[in-house]
Symmetry: C2
Subunit: 409 residues, 2 copies
């Protein structure tokens, strides 16, 4: 049974002198196959990429899928996925799989989060101060998080140990340590306190992971990635990277709310501190324009729901930005959905057909537009990888960002 591993194949030389090289092309090895990096990992939140067959995901170039421990814990229950032989087998996906820790979801889902956010701008950020807020669905303490299911309101608790147990039952090749989610609006004081909590949780995750790995020799090895928090603070990000970098993690996730302008800077701080022989995953990023910033700053893998969600909302990714296929000008356009795209959707269907499907509220619209958008991001990151290997990265970057006009056309 192959174990987990990561090899660097080509370092991306920075364009500016004096900047440390952190970008690279590499290969992550897992028991269910290799991932050639940089790579975009499409999200199958509830053990399905919404509206798309796994074979279609494979055909469009997806190397691995990322499912969500929080969602699967609530529904169908991780014991069921364990009995099914793990999430890959459950969902008919034979390649590598990831699960996130559930930390982000237990703290962000439900009605409470936005109100808590608003409140936090006016208050000293101590969780005991905001715990009593009526709307809050999640209460964080030093041992873990108590939260209310967004499905039925039932109460649940995640701790570092429980997250590890849940993720071991789900059985993905790559798991993430349980961390606390903060926001850019939290105070510096709260970020420091939270980061220490995440550090202590990381230690507990590694311990519980080791215990479970020894206990469950019937399963392929699951790799554990620590999650680097620290918000927008350089010293906190670097400290967290050194702290967790010294622990026995197989790789690292870069977490927390990142605004687009600071994304590159923050990922670079982290990449400079983390051990270079382990892969770095940028959690929940990104939009097409984010990949270049991420890769140059040292990110090896990415996941994001934006591409598939956009597809379900009739938005089509193109190299110029995105457009909405419901616009009347596509009603009788018999051109491919986008030009110069080799995806299944663009090679088999017209803009007029997709326009019709969306207006007729046909389910196939979601399928075809998700296939296109996922192809777009998977293929863009694959081209970034190729450009690192053949030394044309900066040409590709200039070409792409030269025409790409952001989110909507």
């Amino acid at each position: 049974m192959p174990q987990f591993g990561f090899t660097q194949q080509q370092i991306l030389e920075p364009k500016e002198s004096g900047v440390r090289a952190v970008g690279r092309a590499g290969t992550i090895s897992t028991p269910h196959g290799d991932i050639q990096t940089p790579a975009f990992i499409p999200v199958g939140t509830k053990a399905t990429v919404k509206s798309v067959l796994p074979e279609s995901m494979k055909d469009l170039g997806a190397q691995a899928l990322l499912a969500n421990a929080y969602h699967l814990y609530l529904q169908p229950g991780c014991d069921i996925i364990d009995s099914a032989g793990g999430v890959g087998k459950f969902m008919n996906w034979s390649g590598p799989t990831f699960t996130d820790s559930g930390g982000f979801q237990v703290m962000s889902l439900g009605v409470g989060f936005k109100k808590v956010l608003a409140m936090q701008t006016d208050t000293v950020q101590r969780d005991d101060v905001i715990a009593d807020h009526k709307e809050r669905l999640a209460h964080v303490d030093d041992d873990g998080v108590t939260f209310k299911s967004h499905l039925d309101g039932s109460m649940h608790r995640f701790s570092p140990e429980i997250s590890m147990q849940v993720q071991h039952q789900i059985g993905a090749d790559i798991m993430f340590a349980f961390d606390e989610l903060t926001t850019l609006m939290n105070t510096r004081e709260y970020q420091e306190m939270s980061l220490e909590r995440t550090r202590l949780w990381a230690i507990r995750c590694v311990e519980e992971h080791k215990r479970l790995t020894i206990e469950r020799t019937d399963k392929p090895y699951q790799a554990l990635f620590g999650v680097i928090q620290g918000a927008q603070y350089e010293d906190l990000r670097r400290k967290a990277s050194r702290d967790l970098g010294a622990m026995d993690f197989d790789g690292y996730g870069i977490g927390g709310a990142l605004d687009k302008n600071s994304l590159s800077t923050i990922v670079r701080w982290v990449s400079e501190e983390l051990p270079a022989d382990r892969p770095r995953h940028l959690l929940g990023i990104g939009e097409p324009e984010d990949f270049f910033a991420g890769v140059e700053s040292g990110a090896d893998t990415f996941d994001c729901v934006a591409a598939s969600r956009a597809g379900r909302n009739a938005a089509v990714y193109t190299k110029f930005g995105r457009f909405n296929i419901t616009n009347a000008k596509y009603r009788r356009s018999f051109a491919p959905v986008t030009d110069d795209c080799a995806c299944y959707t663009c090679t088999h269907y017209t803009q007029a057909y997709l326009h019709h499907l969306v207006h007729a509220k046909e389910l196939l619209a979601a399928t075809l537009l998700t296939i296109h958008n996922e192809y777009f991001v998977v293929n863009l990151v694959a081209r970034i990888r190729e450009s690192i290997l053949d030394g044309t990265y900066y040409e590709l970057k200039d070409e792409f960002l030269g025409t790409f006009a952001g989110r909507s056309l």
Copy 2:
């Protein structure tokens, strides 16, 4: 360019003596390929089999698809489908296609129909009596039908000529003549009047079809099927069959409301009168148990939305009847969705996974259950064909109906 044709390959000998042989195995030839009959033709109402890729339909054995002239006329508009190169090209289906005439839908869709039906049981059935009924969305006269769109309430008119023009624009290989829909609740007097109207419309359809065929030499030949009405009356069904049988139709549809008990009898009356060298399509039928009655009585092809609609409602077809996958007993069942089924869904997914997808309201549930149910009916009719060819039809019928317990388990 191959034209339309039908060849009989094997006659099914009736089990009872003295009964005329009308069941058969054959081949329908169209410009887009052959259909081996008996065959079930899945429905793609709006130029898509809801939630399923055309390649999946081909893989499960579908030989042809049937779209709906009424729906496509309203959305996206048949001129758009014409510009796209016809419905097959529009929807990425290279095989043969059917369209119904729109007659059934213009008269049955919308809020009015059930109320009109109820009223008609108490009234002399003359369309001028019921035309004023407030709720009615369709008004029939001798020249055609004026109806209100179920989408936006706009007013439209179909006549035999317009139906032919619409279906020529949609460009399916097999079209149906425009007919009046009656119900089993109409009086005998109304049925006679309606049947004469449908006869006169059939003549107009043939004429308009000939005109359009000569006009549009840029397109492959489209075959036209006459539709046999006559409700539950033997003399009316036989007369309609003789009348339309003498006209220049390429094949025939058997229409009208048929209750399950009289289905076999009515189809037999029609099949005995129609010219044996032309195919017979049983419109809107059926459920698994209907195919045997239909084939023995002379039906060559079938279409019905039941299988896909059941799939979208979490109902799974099996040889014992159908069951609902949402039932709690499937929550941790890791058996295939059904036993002994070679379809994509049953060979790749468990009952537990489908149960999860339905409960999680995931779109893929509709896709996978539709694939299974369509495979079930397509494959059942394909097995009926094989059994006619190898002389084991009655064994297959006894075996299937011996275990099949009707609609729900």
